[in-house]
């Protein structure tokens, strides 16, 4: 006999699939997109800036090789020596949300703060993706 001690809460927080009435619930994890620019600590600012400029986001994220989130790079912080490592200009430890957070509630929290994006991660800090406020609102409204 084995005990998955962390339980259903852990399963949901890792954005794992579920069966049942709530299988298609609009959550941060279901809305999250994986196309945000990511880089390593020692990637050069110049190359990261180019990638961010081509992306739909005004920021990028610094992760480890294993995908653990370390920091955020605002586009405005990248107007510096292009040879600097990303780790020198990142904001460490950005706020994240869990994948099982309801889309509507999260959209409201973002709106209250004037934010447009939420970074979604696992409880261990592994990046799942980013969820946009408008997409969260749309997903919640489609829920009915």
């Amino acid at each position: 006999m084995y005990d998955y001690t962390a339980g259903k809460a852990d399963w949901l927080a890792h954005n794992q699939p579920v069966e049942g009435e709530h299988a298609n619930l609009a959550t941060a994890g279901r809305v999250a997109r994986q196309d945000v620019v990511t880089c390593r600590l020692d990637d050069r600012v110049g190359s990261v800036r180019e990638r961010i400029e081509r992306s739909p986001y005004g920021f990028g994220l610094v992760t480890t090789e294993g995908g653990v989130l370390l920091g955020r790079l605002r586009r405005s912080a990248l107007d510096c020596d292009p040879g600097l490592p990303a780790g020198d200009v990142m904001e460490p430890g950005p706020t994240t949300v869990r994948a099982d957070e309801r889309a509507g509630k999260l959209a409201q929290r973002l709106a209250d703060r004037g934010w447009h994006w939420a970074i979604v991660s696992t409880p261990e800090g592994r990046l799942i993706g980013v969820a946009g406020r408008e997409e969260l609102e749309r997903a919640e409204s489609q829920q009915g």
Binding site: M1, Y2, D3, Y4, W11, L12, E19, H22
Partner: protein, 67 residues
Amino acid sequence: MATSIGLGELEEMRARGAQIVEVLPEREYREGHIPGAINLPIKQLTADTATVLDRNRPVVVYCWDSL
């Protein structure tokens, strides 16, 4: 005595055909459960209700969280 496992081990055991058992009440199970899990609410767990389990395959139980 049950052996405590994490998400990675659970995924491996599911892939190998382990029986996954949610011990939360039926309503919570109906709302959402790990795909393929069966429901044996802990308050109704007896030798009789446990006969649905295959003794020859590993069993993984879970509830809401570790608290």
